[in-house]
Amino acid sequence: MTEHPNELLLEIADGAVPPAEARAHLGSCRRCQQTLAALAPLDLGYAWQGVAAELDAPRPGILERVLVAFGVRPGLARFTAAAPSLRLGWLLANLLVLGLVALPMALRPVTTAPSAVLLAAPLVAAAAVAFAYGPAVDPAYEAVTATPLSPVRALLVRLAAVLVANTLLAGVVDLALGDGGPRVGWLLPMTAAALLAVLVASRWTPAVGAVAGMGAWLLVLAGWRASDRPVAWLTGPTAQAAYATVALVLLALLVRSVARQGWALPGGSEAA
């Protein structure tokens, strides 16, 4: 240990550059560091904590950076990208569900049978509501409730991103099925199921909403099983028109519900 550069410390604290050997001493001498900390015109420990905190901050993921590149505000982008149902594992699971349902069809195409993607897509979309947002699934939920973003709006923002992701996945499976595929006939039932899930979630919790959306679609499927005209039930023009009508009605109800009760989510109190 070299000698303490006592005389220099006062001038260093005023901004004079110490010689190289004194600098090396300062790097390893606690006593001099302590003296300089006492003399410094600002809090050196606090400033270093700021540097360390910045270095520890997580780097934004790909999705977050893409959203920011498309003009989404950084905070909203981080919030959206943090949706549990947008994680790679969840998306892969979605793809697996869609693929497994689609596989038998791809192997043995039957033109009269309903499209496999059609069967699975609304279920996946409704389930995504449960894992898009809420105290039960979101590690960042408590932090989010302290922000100006209201719970229902948060749910919608997340859900929009989740729906886009699932639409892309279902589209990929649809394309992979080729001629036997449903030709995006799943889009309207999927939207209707998701909207129903959101509407219910806005009154109760995301999990209840997801159950409602999935349950409604399972009822439709039960009707299809009992019907003697399965194709008409699902992909026929009448059926598609019915899905569109249901989706529009649900959207209107959701808008009205939001206009009435504001952006609060009744189930939010269970976060406590």
Binding site: I12, V17, P19, R23, G27, S28, A38, A40, Q49, V51
Partner: protein, 197 residues
């Protein structure tokens, strides 16, 4: 500074690696360039004190100076790969710090460059190396300290020359820590004036 904050600065890591303490500044920046965080910490311990003094002299806002100091080391962390070497670490760091302070001051006061940040009221030389301290400075400081009132001289002696903490000094003098801090502050103003004249 709180005890916790100081523990952060002096924290583990480099203290356990005696070889790192002997590294030159150039070697440290080289290590920072490949992501060695301990090297950044050591660089901070060596350079943050004088950078803090310079930054604080150029703005009346402690917060602004603190932010500029943080930004300087974050920028150093990110751009260490661009450092050309040649023993110019102090000039390199001060260049970053001055630019950061200017841009922070501009952002805070829209409509004009901060005069404090733009002007160089107390810059002793064009590059920091030219202002490096030596034996000459020690004598001047010692003479300035000798002209202090006894109470302030005692605090300088305890804190600077004996390396005692503010807490210890306060306890031994049987006065509150705030009193020691204010004596220290007044002593520094006095010394700065003496050295400037």
């Amino acid at each position: 500074m709180t005890g916790v904050a100081r523990a952060e600065v002096e924290g583990a890591g480099l203290a356990a690696r005696p070889a790192a303490g002997a590294a030159t500044d150039d070697e440290l920046v080289g290590a920072v360039a490949v992501g060695d965080r301990a090297a950044l910490e050591l660089l901070y311990r060596r350079h943050a004190p004088w950078l803090a003094g310079r930054l604080a002299a150029r703005t009346s806002s402690v917060e602004l100076a603190e932010e500029a100091l943080q930004d300087t080391f974050l920028a150093a962390w990110r751009s260490a790969g661009g450092y050309r070497g040649g023993g110019q670490v102090t000039a390199w760091l001060w260049g970053i710090a001055r630019r950061r302070l200017s841009s922070l001051a501009r952002r805070q006061r829209p409509g004009g460059l901060s005069l404090d940040a733009a002007a160089e009221p107390r810059d002793p030389g064009a590059t920091p190396e030219e202002a490096a301290l030596g034996q000459d400075a020690s004598d001047r400081v010692r003479r300035a300290v000798a002209t202090l009132p006894p109470e302030q001289r005692a605090v300088i002696a305890a804190v600077v020359y004996e390396g005692k903490s503010i807490e210890t000094t306060a306890r031994e003098a049987a006065v509150p820590e705030g009193t020691i801090k204010s004596r220290l502050h007044r002593a520094r103003l006095h010394i700065r004036k003496e050295l400037g004249s």
